[in-house]
Amino acid sequence: MVSKIIITVLSVSGITGFLALILVIAEKIFADYGVCKVNINGEEDIEVDGGKSLLFALKEKKIFIPSACGGRGTCGYCKVRVIDGAGPLLPTEEPMLSKDEMKNNMRLACQVKVKKDIQIQIPEELFNIKEYKTNLALLKDLTYDIKLLHLELIEPKEINFKAGQYVQLETKPYGDIKETVMRAYSICSPSYEKNYIELMIRRVPDGICTTWVHDFLKEGEVLNIIGPMGEFYLREGESDIYLIAGGSGMAPIVSILYHILHEKIERNVLFFFGARTTKDLFYLDVMEYFEQNIPNFKFIPALSAATNKDKWEGEKGRITDVINKYIKDRDNSQAQGYLCGSPGMVKACINVLNSNNITNDRIFYDPFA
């Protein structure tokens, strides 16, 4: 009887143990991809641990491919051109790629796994994106729902960005929230100031990051950012510039205005700022400074819900109507439009620009708006 029990136990353990051993060996063989070389733009070769997604493998080597969804395959921001070594197109990539993109070997970096040596092509600007450790030196209210953050760079000490670009800010756990997220905010400080950046952050209903910034964040905290990113910056030219913003969308516009002042750009500049009441206006002193020092610059705030108490003497009504009023009699054949703010406002204003002879190739805005 006892020997039977012993034999039973030994054989079952033996067989399952043997199976487990086979699986461990199999995992080593099949799931271990070793070290793979990623060749970038035909120049640099970097070594990464195989088996990871291209997005994360590159991130570990400090090359930041843009991503809004954290690698889940739902945003389509992480497209890179893979010349060789990626394997067949995955069903998770197909919904995010157009036929042209597929023909050009575009892939989603978050879905492609690095299993062997791979050759990719990424735009040069991506190399400028770095991770920065910063100190929140100043946190102050601009309005009842917009705060200004002044971040002194600790490590690295310098950042090079174009006026109008944005960074990704990493939140910290707070309250009941144990996870962190990354959220994008445009830089409002001058681009010639390389040792600090400033952000304008407006409260979003139930926003993870904005609730943290407005209710929990304290001066002196060390914050991580990744950047600079974005295609929103001033384009060359001699033509008129129409800047349009609402709420915290003023941030990149301010940075662009500093740039215009610093570079002594003499183009005609009109800045339309849409808000509801005088309570939503801020940086009026900065705008006055710009008006006095930038030739040919006019700041045009438009309030859509000004009350009699506000005693508002400026433009009243919807920003779309105010813009139309100012530009409809101008020659807009070369004019450029730069927009930043709520997507609804941006869409509506683009329509106004279009109907005033400004074509989409001369209109610029950040798509994450």
Partner: protein, 150 residues
């Protein structure tokens, strides 16, 4: 209920702090599938279609969107839409991304107000998900039907 690791990581998305501050479950202790099943049964019992509810909400939001953060009147509703920058993925993990649109809708006849988001409408229409009980975005099908159509 048995879950694959993929499902477990997916349902993480419904918790507070991952995609939105308050998450999608509120205080509900039930499994996501159970929440959906019971709401489906409730809808069948009442003879209401979630698509009908979602389409009406979308109609209201689309009208409100035209007025940037102002109260507007549509039929007997007052709608205030706030559209913020950035986009949200669906917690069920499928493309596309959704705009961050937050709408306060008041039914002047019933004198009641609800809060609804663009993502919430998508969840209702495509996943029959009405949020967990206790979540501030939870809309009971019966209440919502009366709110929209009575």
């Amino acid at each position: 209920m048995k879950e694959t690791p993929l499902e477990k990581s997916l349902y993480r998305n419904f918790l507070p702090g991952i995609l939105t501050k308050d998450g999608f479950i509120g205080e509900d202790k039930r499994h996501i599938h159970d929440i959906i099943e019971e709401d489906i049964r409730e809808l069948e019992r009442l003879g209401i279609s979630e698509v009908e509810l979602a389409k009406k909400l979308q109609e209201l939001i689309d009208f409100g969107k035209k007025n940037l953060e102002e109260d507007v009147r549509y039929e007997h509703f007052i709608i205030n839409v706030r559209w913020s920058r950035g986009m949200l993925p669906c917690p069920f993990g499928e493309p596309p991304l959704h705009y961050k649109i937050y709408a306060k809708i008041t039914n002047t006849k019933l004198d009641k107000t609800i809060v609804v988001t663009q993502l919430g409408i998508h969840l209702m229409e495509k996943h029959v998900f009405f949020y967990g009980k206790g979540s501030k975005y939870r809309l009971e099908p019966v209440f919502l039907y009366d709110f929209l159509f009575r």
